[in-house]
Amino acid sequence: MEREVVLSVRDLNVKFRMRKKALHAIRGISLDLYQGESLAIVGESGSGKSVLSKNFIGLLDKNGYVESGTIQFGGKDITHLKEKEWEQIRGGQIAMIMQDPMTSLNPLKSIGWQICEALKYHRKIVGQAAQKKAVELLTDVGITEPETRLKQYPHEFSGGMRQRVAIAIAVACNPQVLICDEPTTALDVTIQAQILNLLKSLKDRYGLTLVFITHDLGVVANIADRIAVMYAGDIVEIGTCDEIFYDPKHPYTWALLSSLPQLGTKGEKLYSIQGTPPNLYLPIRGDAFAPRNPNALAIDYLHRPPYFQVSETHKAKTWLLDSRAPKIAPPEQIQSIRSICFLGGETDGRE
């Protein structure tokens, strides 16, 4: 299965200047994004998943900078582009939707104006043609009576509807890659499912490559082809959806899956990961997760593990995969993950 690589990250290091100290937010990530796939990046708050994706669209906060590494997109390195060059890529080739649909639209401009604005800069469509295209887009994202809706303002839309509008704006210029930064976190559960289904159908229709940033594993199971698990600014494990859910190798992935509320037994305490994430101001020695890992090996504190290839698509950064390591079985809860209904229905269909 040789697939075309759309975007390729190599040894990316991103730091933030904070009061004269440097915060090492992305610690040497390498990642390939394939044409037409949907990749989910999961991890707890502060693991760097948003920072990583902001690099793809040149919207890193002002005090952040790429220290080393490259991101290849469309035949060039996009880590040090000028603002003018970014304007070509943003929206036109790589688009993004944000977490909170309530704040991601300009409250003083009509929906139609905001869609047409995107069309104007990338596809040079203006006037009547733009209006027509905007109506089409709204229909595509499932908004009824698009002609009337165009003239309305964001406050006249519900949260789910606004996210649909934001999606319409994002796909307006046929981007190759769509970054979804926790697109359903601010929505209630029934709307979440609708938005996810919408994204899935748009992905096929527009031939999008999706990057999904989320900490909701339920969302991930629903939409992702591949999953990258991030911890402390690094991708500790990456594999297909099935591989990560049914055959996780990294202790952090184990811990993450064990803390799924669906895996808890009634009357027992939910599993939670002990300790706190490492301080990214200080250099990290060895495996960043070792201090919180009950099964940490001595070597975890000394040397940073390399990737161990589990299968063609699956690799993890843990010394447990070394041939000399003791065999530690994953926790019991996640062995039963296959029997959990919330995954069962979805994945059976896919297999």
């Binding site: 603002e83 070509q88 929206g91 939707i97 944000m98 991601s104 003083l108 995107a118 303002y153 210029c173």
Partner: protein, 313 residues
């Protein structure tokens, strides 16, 4: 939209009525010397007759009704000391145009300057213009305004070779008073605009607009500036009216025959009816300014015209 305006107008009229009642009642507590130009030389009988003639011996509520009745005809009563038996409305009519002219010219200068400075400051936070503007704002806010006026007059007259006082026949003499009025408001406009623009530029929708590939300049003008003007627009009418009404220092410094010095003058001379009339006029102006600001804001902000519940301020 219309309904919103009507509601706001009614509410403003309500507050104005309350203010009138309070001012009227308070001024009835003032010493009665204020009704007569030559109180000291009058006998008790003369004073009694005089009060009766002015209707001041009637019960308070009757006086109040009478006053409101007159007010509906546009009559604010007559002056007792400032210009004896001269209608107050006509005194104001002579003085107000001068102040309005100065206020409008000052605003025509300060508003564009302030907006440009505010935009420059917000666009590059920490840059040259931001530091310059901050220094200017701190200077204007920290130094007593009177001192600034005095130095302007002192050095300005020397630089431009002008007389110290305003002379309506020599338009050049208006430069310094207009500058004195304009310079402080520049700092106000710049400060607010910068602040609103910085607020707006940190909003999520600005990031989203960037993510859809809108060029930087377009973002600044069509999103940030446009949205920052909404709260600013609300402040403009009020600040204009205050410039017109409140240029007390400047007008007396250059002896401009405007409204500004009038209130201080009549308070010093205890002309009760004049004080009452002027306080009511100033109150009406401020309320009108707020009302105008709210209506302007409703015009530029689509969210307001469509909400059923008007936001009270």
């Amino acid at each position: 939209m219309l309904w919103y305006c009507v509601k706001r107008l009614l509410r403003s009229l309500g507050s104005l009525c309350i203010i009138i009642v309070i001012v009227f009642c308070l001024l009835r507590l003032m010493p009665i010397e204020g009704y007569f130009p030559n109180y000291d030389k009058m006998s008790a009988q003369e004073i009694q007759n005089g009060l009766q003639k002015m209707g001041l011996t009637a019960p308070l509520y009757q006086q109040l009704f009478h006053f409101f009745g007159e007010l509906l005809h546009g009559d604010l009563g007559v002056s007792n000391i400032y210009r004896v038996d001269y209608p107050i409305v006509r005194i104001i009519a002579q003085k107000a145009p001068v102040s309005i002219e100065f206020g409008l010219i000052a605003m025509a200068i300060s508003l564009p300057l302030g907006l440009v400075l505010g935009v420059l400051m917000a666009k590059k936070k920490g840059g040259f213009w931001d530091q310059f503007g901050t220094a200017y704002i701190v200077f204007i806010e920290a130094v007593p305004i009177m001192l600034i006026y005095l130095f302007l007059q002192l050095y300005g007259t020397g630089v431009f070779h002008l007389g110290i006082l305003y002379d309506s026949d020599k338009p050049a003499t208006a430069i310094l008073p207009v500058l004195s009025l304009a310079l402080p408001s520049v700092s106000g406009y710049a400060m607010w605009l910068r602040r609103f623009m910085v607020d707006e530029s940190n909003m999520e929708y600005i990031k989203f607009a960037k993510a859809k590939g809108v060029p930087n300049n377009a973002i600044w003008f069509r999103h940030v500036f446009r949205n920052a003007m909404v709260p600013l627009v609300q402040l403009i009418p009020g600040s204009l009216l205050l410039t017109i009404a409140g240029s007390i220092y400047v007008e007396s410094l250059y002896s401009i025959p405007g409204m500004g010095g009038l209130l201080v003058d009549v308070i010093k001379r205890q002309d009760n009816t004049m004080v009452q009339a002027l306080v009511i006029v100033f109150a009406a102006l401020s309320i009108f300014g707020l009302l105008l600001g709210d209506i302007l804001m409703a015009i530029v902000d689509p969210r307001i015209s469509l909400t059923k519940k008007a936001v009270s301020r």
